[in-house]
Symmetry: C2
Subunit: 169 residues, 2 copies
């Protein structure tokens, strides 16, 4: 599991997510509703709304980078109330991900990852990345996408995937 | 990127998905509705219903294993109409994933992956796994989860994550 490659992919997905939010704003403008209504949209009453899905996707990526690089994660308080503020949060997170050099992930597979919520227990770095960080990140990114689609925002699978690393025959 | 470890994780997520479908059946029985109604549930009229999300998650995992191991993927026709049939589809897919030995993924990173829909173009194996197969897989698994949650099925984040590879302090 190449950690640096994975973190680069999470940054790419966050940049895709940023474009979905821009599409959502255009949709709201055409439909003449306040785009920030979408920040509170959710699929079930006891599930996170869009805003918290975006914050959680950012945090999943941020903590993956920080834990696996042996850094202290920067603090990004969950204060966003508008689509523009969520986009700024994404940009802040992506800048942090890009600030961690690939070399910082040397030995990440065998690093002990001990998030506070584990109360002293720990994951092996490779297990944490594959079984926790990646599924959790995609959970929140896809939930954000699903909330937007459920509300009529015109997105498709290629908006989700983003640029394709394709080679000519 | 350890391909075998990733495929093992996709199999784990499919087994989690199988449990959500079992929870969904219990929910339908308590609410006294036909559980197979859920197979057609969807979040937007132009998005896949639950059944096709499950089929697509299975296929994303199946093709990842087959392409990266240099095998021809087994054919699993999309004929499922009931939750039980979807669970059987998952079991068939998981058995296939488990049938591919880790050694078959030797050199997978640099393998040329040329799905028919690329019409002759190709991905480098590592790019395909990280940028296509994994995000696409989690897209369909999380969409299935979101459809169930939207319909009231009682699931939480730990049902999504499944077993935790945690070590004692």
């Amino acid at each position: 599991m190449d950690t640096a490659v994975t973190i680069t992919q999470l940054a790419k997905m966050l940049q895709n997510l940023d474009r979905w939010l821009d599409t959502a704003r255009g949709f709201a403008e055409r439909k003449k509703f306040d785009p920030d209504v979408l920040v509170q949209a959710r699929l079930a009453p006891d599930q996170y709304a869009l805003g918290r899905q975006v914050q959680s996707a950012c945090d999943a990526a941020k903590y993956a980078a920080a834990y696996l690089a042996g850094q202290t994660a920067p603090s990004h308080p969950d204060t966003e109330k508008t689509l523009d503020e969520l986009r700024a949060r994404i940009a802040t997170c992506v800048r942090y991900l890009q600030s961690v050099p690939a070399s910082a992930y040397a030995g990440a597979e065998d690093r002990r990852v001990a998030p506070p919520w584990l109360q002293g227990k720990w994951f092996r770095g490779a297990d944490y990345l594959v079984q926790l960080a990646i599924p959790n990140f995609y959970f929140h990114v896809t939930s954000a996408y699903a909330i937007l689609r459920h509300n009529g925002v015109e997105l498709g699978k290629m908006d989700y995937i983003g640029s394709m690393p394709v080679h000519d025959a």
